[in-house]
Subunit: 223 residues, 2 copies
DNA sequence: AAATATTTTTAGATTCGCCTAAATTTAAAA
DNA sequence: TTTTAAATTTAGGCGAATCTAAAAATATTT
């Protein structure tokens, strides 16, 4: 088991995240993500290719290989476990955890992370609702999504909020939305991305994209 | 408030520790402590002097100034709080915590450390019995002595052993004594210098002088 | 006090990760 | 299909932290 530098880990993680949207990642996209210059990215890609962590041909974009993916999942695991710890145990707000976890995630000890996982009760989702890979790299199927991601006409259950602010809680209370409430999206408005929501025993109402983004729901994905 | 690199912090911490033994620290001693070469030490000392963290004249050794000391205490605080966390919450053995804490201590966030401190209940000593500086840099006075030296009827905390042999550890295990256990001497027998020990929730028992000599405890002297 | 040994510093390279500017390749437009 | 634009790579440098080898300062012996 090799050890990777903080920079290398940052690149691997960034490629991993970008890969989920485009299946091949461009030098420019990576540079933007890492907040560095394209020339620096090229240098690092050559290095990571030499270490056999990714597929890379000049001008043709980059993609993690199996080993790169394994490492990426390990970094993501560390990051999200720390986020969970910060929010759950140290009472950090959901919006404060990312920055600190960004530093903690680079502490390598496998034992540390596995013990932390156990201490936290093997949580499956971080405070943002993203799944936490287990010690083998497996993640729960993301039955948990932001309300904005919920497909039309599928009933889902509210299971949490990303933003603990009083304002959001006030809004939810006004709409009688709480943990466990079943909701369904009837319509999505392209103009402002607001959503038309249907709940049992209440008339249809609309909710802003901003609010919907901070509400987590889970549902059965129909494979 | 400036930020220091991992290397700079390692040097500051090493100087701090060496200072407690010799009051001026030599280049060679520092090189040995950091596991680097004297030439590298000289380079770093020039840099830290430029940053006004220490007193240094070529060939004359080095010493932290007030600002350097402040930073050192902050690093020590981070290190020992993480050690406490690892031992107390993640059930690491007291001999495993140092290495991992060595990495965690460089995570800078002030808020993280203060929250961690609070979460842990503002512990005053780490698992080795060393005092943890509070957020202002103040530490409890530590009186660490062999169990044989502990005054009668004063509660002290086991903080280490002089002899790591399996035999001693077996004896300690049998008596349910581990790092952090509170003990009190009820009686000292002049004949063989054995001691009568009282611990919470267990009946009084006796321990030989030989064993007691290899157990370190610390207690707060009653000024 | 002179000679020798030890410690410490200086000089000059090396690796890592980053940068700017210029050259090259690929993609898009006319 | 040229031409133009955009993306990407190469070339050459820079700062941080380290190293080796050689020079300089300090300590120790004789």
């Amino acid at each position: 088991m090799v050890n990777y530098s903080t920079s290398e880990e940052d690149y691997i993680k960034a490629i991993y995240h970008l890969q989920s949207h485009q299946q091949t990642v461009s030098t420019n996209a990576l540079a933007a993500e890492i907040k560095t210059k394209p020339a620096s990215v090229t240098d690092m890609l050559k290095k990571l290719k030499a270490k056999k962590l990714l597929h890379y041909q000049p001008y043709q974009g980059v993609k993690l290989n199996a080993e790169g993916l394994r490492i990426a999942l390990d970094i993501v695991r560390r990051h999200r476990l720390w986020e969970y710890f910060l929010a759950e145990k140290l009472k950090f707000g959901w919006n404060e955890v990312h920055e600190v976890a960004e530093e903690l995630e680079h502490v390598g000890s496998k034992k540390l992370i596995d013990r932390l996982d156990e201490y936290l009760g093997f949580p499956r989702f971080d405070p943002h609702g993203d799944p936490i890979p287990d010690h083998t790299g497996k993640m729960a199927i993301k039955t948990q999504v932001r309300l904005t991601e919920l497909p039309l006409n599928i009933t889902a259950k509210v299971c949490g909020v990303a933003d603990q602010s009083t304002q959001l809680l006030e809004l939810l209370k006004h709409r009688s939305i709480s943990i466990g409430t079943n909701v369904e999206i009837k319509k999505k408005f392209g103009f402002d991305h607001s959503l038309e929501i249907k709940m049992r025993n209440t008339p249809v109402f609309t909710i802003s994209e901003h609010a919907a983004q901070n509400i987590f729901v889970n549902y059965e994905p129909e494979n």
